[in-house]
Subunit: 228 residues, 2 copies
Amino acid sequence: MKRRTSPDETRERIVRAAGEVFGRHGFDGTTVRQITRRAGVNVASVNYHFRDKGELYMRVLREAKCLAGDLAATEFRGAPEEQLRGFVFTFVRRLLDPNRPAWHVQVITQEMMRPTPALDFLVREMTEPIFRRVRELIGAVAGRKLPGPKLDMLASSVLGQCLFYVRSRPMIERLAPELSRGPDRIERISDHIATFTLAALCHLFNKRPSARKGKTSNRGRVPALYAV
Amino acid sequence: MKRRTSPDETRERIVRAAGEVFGRHGFDGTTVRQITRRAGVNVASVNYHFRDKGELYMRVLREAKCLAGDLAATEFRGAPEEQLRGFVFTFVRRLLDPNRPAWHVQVITQEMMRPTPALDFLVREMTEPIFRRVRELIGAVAGRKLPGPKLDMLASSVLGQCLFYVRSRPMIERLAPELSRGPDRIERISDHIATFTLAALCHLFNKRPSARKGKTSNRGRVPALYAV
DNA sequence: TGACAATCCAAACATTTGTTTCAAACTTTT
DNA sequence: AAAAGTTTGAAACAAATGTTTGGATTGTCA
C-alpha cells in the first residue's frame, strides 16, 4: 500500500508552509508549531528533515532566491532606454505578480528589513548582481561615464521606486487603494516607474526627449519576451 | 533623601529602551525582559506603569509619531519646485539625521512592514497627511490638474526614493558603503532625490529646464529655514 | 513622627517556545 | 516473509515568554 505522503512531499510541504509563515512574520515572529500546523505534519518533522528552525529558514531563503530568478543575468534588447524599461517591467512583475507565490518576495523583504546572519548570503547571491545590473543599464542610458556614488544613487532611485510598492503595501492599500487593485495594476505601475525614470535621466543627461509621453505607445510596451 | 530615580524617569527610561528594542526587533521579536534589562529596571515595571506589552508599544508609537514632527503641516516658501525640494530635504533629514534617536524612524518602519493593529493609527496620524502633502506639492509643480491615480504614483516615486535609504540600510551598507558614510551624506542624498524628481517632473510636464544640473548651485540649496 | 499611598523588586505563575525521546508505522532490502 | 533502515507521531524536556503576586522600600502629608 502506498504511503499517504512521501518523505519528499513532507519536506516540500514544510518548506512551502515555512515560506508563507516566515514571509508574513519573519524569523523571530514565526513558531515551528505554526509551520507544522499549516503543513499538516508533526512538530518533530522539522527537526528530523531539517536540523533545526534556522536550517529550515536558510532552506526557505535559498528556495526564494532560486525562484526569484536570475534577473541580473537576463539580457534585454533594443536601445538602452528600452533595456532599462524592460528591466523595470520584469522586476516589478516579479515583485507583484499574484500568480507567483507571494512569500518569495515577502521572506526576502523581511530579511532585508530585520537582518539575520543569513542576510549576507542574500545580498551576495541576488541583491548585489541586481544592483550592479541596474547601474550598468543606467550608465548606458546616460551615455557617459558617471562617478560611482552618483550611479549608486541613480540605481537607488530606480529600486526604491519599485520596492516601495512591495514594502509599503499595507500602507498603500489604505492610502491609495486604486493602486493595489485592477488586473492592469502591474503594468500601470511598471509603466509609470519606467517613464518617470527615463524622463529624469533624459533631462539630466540632455538626451533627446525620447518620444514617450502620456499614454502607452507601442514602443513603450515591454516586448512579450521580457514579460516573464 | 531623594529617590535615585523618580517614577517619571522610570517611565521615560522604559519608553526609550522600548523604542530602541522595538525599533530593532519589532513587536514580536522583542521581549519585555530585553527592555527592562536595557532600561535597568525591574521586569514588573512594565506591567505596573503601562498595562502590558501592547500598551507600552502603543505609547512608543505615539512618541515616535510625535517626535517625527508635523512634517505635513510645514510650510515651504518659494516657487513650487523650491517647495518640493524643501520637502525632500526636510523629510530625508528627519529620516537619516543621526542626531535624532534612530528608533523613531525604525519603529515606524517596522510597523509598516509587519503591521500590528496599531498600523491604522500610524497611517491616519502621520502617513496619510504626509502623502496628501506630497501630492499637493507635485500637483503644484506639474502646474495642471492630474488624475488621482497618476498623482498617487508620482507621490509614491518620491516617497519610495526617500524611504529606500532607510529601509534598505543594511543592504546599502554592503552594496554602496560610500552612500552611508560622510558627514554630507544626508545633503548628497537629498539633493540627488530632489534633482532627480524635479528633472522627471520637468520633462514630463514640459516645464522649462529649471536651470539645475550637475553640482549644487546656490538656488538648489535648501534654505536654512527648512533645514530643521 | 507616623500613617498612608505610591513605587519598586524578587519570586513565582501559567503558557509557549525549540528540541528531544522513543516506540509505532512504514518502506526497502534480504 | 523476515530483517534492516526510514519516517512518523504523541509525549515530554528545559528554557523563555508575558504577567501576577505580596512584601519591602520610598515619598507625602497629617
